[in-house]
Symmetry: C2
Subunit: 254 residues, 2 copies
């Protein structure tokens, strides 16, 4: 049995996230249907993480096992011909038998986009969160750096999934501004449910003066979700990086 990994990008607007849900369109089900047609036998795919309804991916890793003989370098075009236009396979490679999209993952990156300003851009609907009003880059950055390091992130997750531990390491949380477009890039060992969106909501609270940066470590210590900022809406969020060792790692970074 071969095992393969795929690098995907998708516009999540039309999907109820990655993970299969009865009666709702999902990226996983859509990919599995394409794999099943290509491999001519029921084929299941594993993803590197759940993404929520409306969340996008510029780099997402999925794995699948197959007896099908199609060479890895022909998979992107063959699958793209079977996939809808809002999902694309960018690359594919053979991976080690013990590769697992979730458990082999070393770190992940999400990027969130907020458009401040007055007039919305029709081309950014479903792609960027339009939030009229001023934002303060220095305050956003002061808030962001409070999240760096290893913490229990219970205060910035939504309940609803079972995890063994709520401790994660945030390696980087950078905020950039280009005109009135703000981008928030978070790189971490892993993300709890809604963690990226609650972190962005919390640094926005710092920009608005509703929280002081030095309160963030205290909030993380309490583990109380009610003390942190709100979960920002899904359409601004993109999975933008997944890191592995070996072949999958080379493919994801190419």
């Amino acid at each position: 049995m071969r095992q393969l990994a795929l690098r995907l990008s998708y516009d999540g607007s039309a999907y109820h996230g990655w993970q299969r849900q009865k009666g709702l369109p999902t990226v996983q089900e859509t990919l599995e249907e394409a794999l099943t047609r290509l491999c001519k036998t029921e084929t299941r795919a594993l993803g590197c993480g759940r993404t929520d309804a409306g969340v996008h991916a510029r780099k997402y890793c999925a794995g699948f096992r197959t007896e099908c003989a199609v060479p890895a370098d022909r998979l992107p075009l063959a699958l793209n011909a079977l996939l809808p236009p809002d999902i694309a396979v960018q690359a594919a490679c053979e991976v080690e038998p013990d590769f697992h999209p979730v458990f082999s993952c070393r770190k992940k990156e999400y990027t969130y986009y907020v458009r401040s300003g007055v007039i919305r851009d029709p081309f950014e609907r479903d792609r960027v969160w339009f939030r009229p009003g001023e934002l303060d880059l220095a305050r956003l950055r002061a808030g962001a750096e409070q999240f760096l390091g290893t913490h229990d992130f219970s205060a910035v997750r939504s309940v609803g999934t079972n995890v063994k531990t709520t401790v994660r390491t945030v390696y980087d949380f950078s905020v950039e501004q280009e005109g009135d477009l703000f981008s928030f890039r978070i790189c971490a060992s892993g993300f709890l449910y809604n963690m990226a969106r609650a972190m962005v909501g919390t640094v926005l609270y710092v920009s608005l003066g509703k929280l002081r940066p030095e309160e963030i470590p205290e909030i993380l210590d309490t583990g109380d979700r009610c003390l942190a900022g709100p979960t920002v809406p899904p359409q601004g969020l993109y999975m933008t990086g997944v890191w592995y060792d070996g072949e999958a790692g080379r493919m994801m970074q190419a």
Copy 2:
């Protein structure tokens, strides 16, 4: 009666073009519904030109007459609250009583985007024409410059609209490349039906070696649509500029 001009941008994916058509969603009808709700009386809008189904606008000018007293600088936010997220009013101003979005227009610009390369981008579906295969920038440019100047453009229009003359002046037709994304910017005194898309299709034929650049003036002389290249699909096309004298001109260029 006041007369006002609006600068609009819209994602045309969901619309059957600008112009009202019975039973089909159009940008004109959608804008008129918002104007009618705001002004509390049936209000009609005039556009600066037809755009086809699926064609977009980053800068489009519409005009309307009203007795309504709302100040011009409050119109964008007031209308955007009533418009769907794929249409936005960017600016508004009072214009002279004899202003007409079509007849006062001095020149217009359309920009067309083609993605060459191998793998499609899900975020560019409906926004860029994905056309796998190599394109040659020098050949594209050699074809484009043949269109400059004043000509009868019958050979690159589709029939179906009545116009007094098929003579237009093309002031600029520039082609740029960024990686495998090609942009075609055409500035002209006016555009016949499908003229921009047929001009792009014709320079693509030059890149593919199906036409020589020096054949283009001969084709324009014949006026025979069958000799020029094909009409490229709508989703890559954007209205990107409209020029006027006076207040409307200042608003459109701001």
